[in-house]
């Protein structure tokens, strides 16, 4: 007998102890809703774990000092291990994200996927000095887990912040802007600031007014501001480097009071 009825005012209600005729229907609803909530919670948990692992990968990658070359072996091993862990997380929920349930838990999985996007696009950039495409990024996810355009864009927005951090830390420790070569063959050499500006231009050209308050439209405005600030910070830092030039002692760190702590400290 499911659910004992509450008797509000005494004996008269005793007759009603007979179960409600709707009980079987509600029991099947209960089972369905329980399954739904279990799936949902599993996905939220996985999303959180994926976010945490992605953040750690990003921290490791922030220790890289060179652009357009292989990730140093020690860091590469670290991120490979974390990547494998994330893959297991993704695979554990892939079945709950397919068929009719595709998009059902989008809100729950989205934060994890965005952070994951940020990590793999950062890694891709450090190795190739290129922006990863949506197709390339999709392929890094296990089958069954879709990468939506929204999550891709929002992840790339966050990538700008990582590039800013990478550019400024590298400038502070090596005295050069990543990507710039001492040679004068300007045409084919791009430095990270040029890349950041290209990204900024592309973002600004993206018309998201039609998205309204849903998905992309909701977050894009805030992220756009943060992204612009990041690019400007690098611009200012490069300006500082040029104007103060060689007189700046090696290892001097520009004042970034409102910035996150440098990644190394989080270990």
């Amino acid at each position: 007998m499911p659910a004992v009825k509450r008797h509000r005012d005494g004996a008269e209600k005793e007759k009603e102890v007979a179960a409600s005729p709707f009980m079987p229907m509600f029991e099947s609803f209960r089972d369905e809703l329980d399954e739904h909530h279990d799936r949902r919670e599993g996905i939220i948990k996985a999303s959180r774990d994926i976010t945490a692992a992605s953040k750690k990968i990003i921290f490791s990658l922030q220790r890289v000092r060179t652009l357009k070359s292989d990730i140093p072996p020690k860091i590469a091993t670290e991120i490979k291990d974390r990547g494998a862990g994330m893959r297991i997380q993704f695979e554990s929920i892939a079945a709950d994200l397919t068929g009719i349930n595709a998009w059902r838990y989008q809100r729950q999985i989205s934060p994890g996927i965005q952070e994951f996007m940020e990590a793999i696009s950062f890694e891709h950039y450090l190795r190739t000095q290129k922006l990863i495409t949506l197709e390339e990024a999709s392929k890094t996810l296990p089958a069954g887990v879709d990468l939506t355009g929204d999550d891709y864009v929002l992840g790339i927005f966050d990538l700008v912040g990582e590039l800013m951090r990478f550019a400024i830390t590298t400038m502070a420790t090596t005295g050069t802007l990543p990507g710039s070569k001492s040679g004068e063959n300007f045409a084919e050499e791009r430095d990270i600031l040029m890349d950041l500006r290209v990204l900024r231009t592309a973002f600004e050209a993206l018309d998201t007014t039609s998205c309204g308050g849903t998905g992309l439209g909701k977050d894009v405005e805030k992220k756009m501001e943060v992204m612009k600030t990041c690019v400007e910070k690098v611009e200012t830092a490069v300006y500082g480097m040029i104007i103060r030039g060689r007189e700046r002692p090696k290892g001097w760190v520009p004042d970034l009071a409102d910035d996150r702590a440098p990644p190394v400290e989080s270990y």
Binding site: P2, A3, K5, R8, D9, E16, A19, S20, P21, F22, M23, M25, F26, E27, F29, R30, E32, L33, D34, H37, R40, G99, I100, N101, A102, W103, R104, Q106, Q129, K130, L131, T133, L134, G149, Y152, V153, R190, M194, D195, V198, L199, T201, A202, A205, L206, D207, T208, S210, C211, G212, T214, L216
Partner: protein, 242 residues
């Protein structure tokens, strides 16, 4: 723009823009239908609202008018199902869920009042249409699990049930005003049975939970009416009931 750069494959952002634009187009198509549905829904509910001032014996014309209105709503739902089925169901379902809940409520209320009869299932006052019966009336699947298409979800059905309970609490009061002392008893039993059903659900902190919290107040409202009637010896004898 950005031509000098090998940083970004220009197709990336073109492709994203296309996606955004396609998305907006689907939304517009859906919105056009839900706007019609909303208007039809309001019309249907205003017709059904006449039940509050119409004695049970004279409900027939009200129910017939409501059924005509519901037919319009069904047509819109058919159109919506066609448009929506080309996209993943849960991508856009929040665009129409509210309107669907209203349609389902109209069907449930009309059915409870004794409308929505079909050849195989005759109408019967006081009857609760199941989610399957509602799906049958709307001509769409319910609670789909094995394929991705338009359907009525359990949550939508439950939301409509809560609206039905609220409406019946109002009807209980108005029945007394109309001199019908039998119907509040019938409503009381019906709503209590539904309430018992809701109590076995493990609801999380979502909109369904918040609204279902209101059921107990409606149960109480109806119990108070029954109390008032029995206090004054106005409750019809068991023999004369039904």
């Amino acid at each position: 723009m950005a031509s000098s750069s090998g940083m970004i494959d220009p197709r990336i952002f073109e492709h994203l823009q296309t996606k955004i634009d396609e998305d907006a187009e689907v939304r517009d198509q859906i919105r056009a239908i839900t706007q019609t549905l909303e208007r039809q829904g309001r019309n249907g509910q205003s017709i059904l609202s006449r039940a509050h001032s119409t004695p049970a014996a004279h409900l027939k014309p009200v129910l017939e008018a409501a059924e005509v209105s519901i037919k319009d709503e069904i047509e819109s739902v058919t159109k919506l199902a066609a448009v929506a089925s080309s996209s993943p169901y849960y991508k856009y379902n929040n665009l129409w869920s509210r309107d669907i809940q209203n349609v389902v409520f109209s069907i449930l209320f009309c059915g409870w009042l004794g409308g929505m009869g079909t050849a195989s299932k005759p109408a019967e006052p006081g009857k609760l249409l199941t989610i399957e019966e509602v799906g049958g009336i709307l001509n769409v699947p319910v609670n789909l699990k094995d394929r991705d298409a338009f359907h009525i979800t359990i949550e939508e059905y439950l939301q409509s049930l809560i609206t039905l309970i609220e409406e019946l609490a109002r009807l209980a009061i108005n029945s007394v005003t109309l001199g019908d002392y039998q119907r509040p008893l019938q409503i009381s039993q019906f709503v209590k049975d539904l309430h018992a059903g809701f109590q076995i659900l493990n609801l999380k902190n979502d909109s369904l939970r918040r609204r279902s919290d209101s059921i107990k107040y409606n149960v109480k409202k109806i119990e108070d009416i029954v109390y008032d009637l029995s206090l004054r010896n106005l409750v019809p004898k068991a023999g004369s009931a039904a």
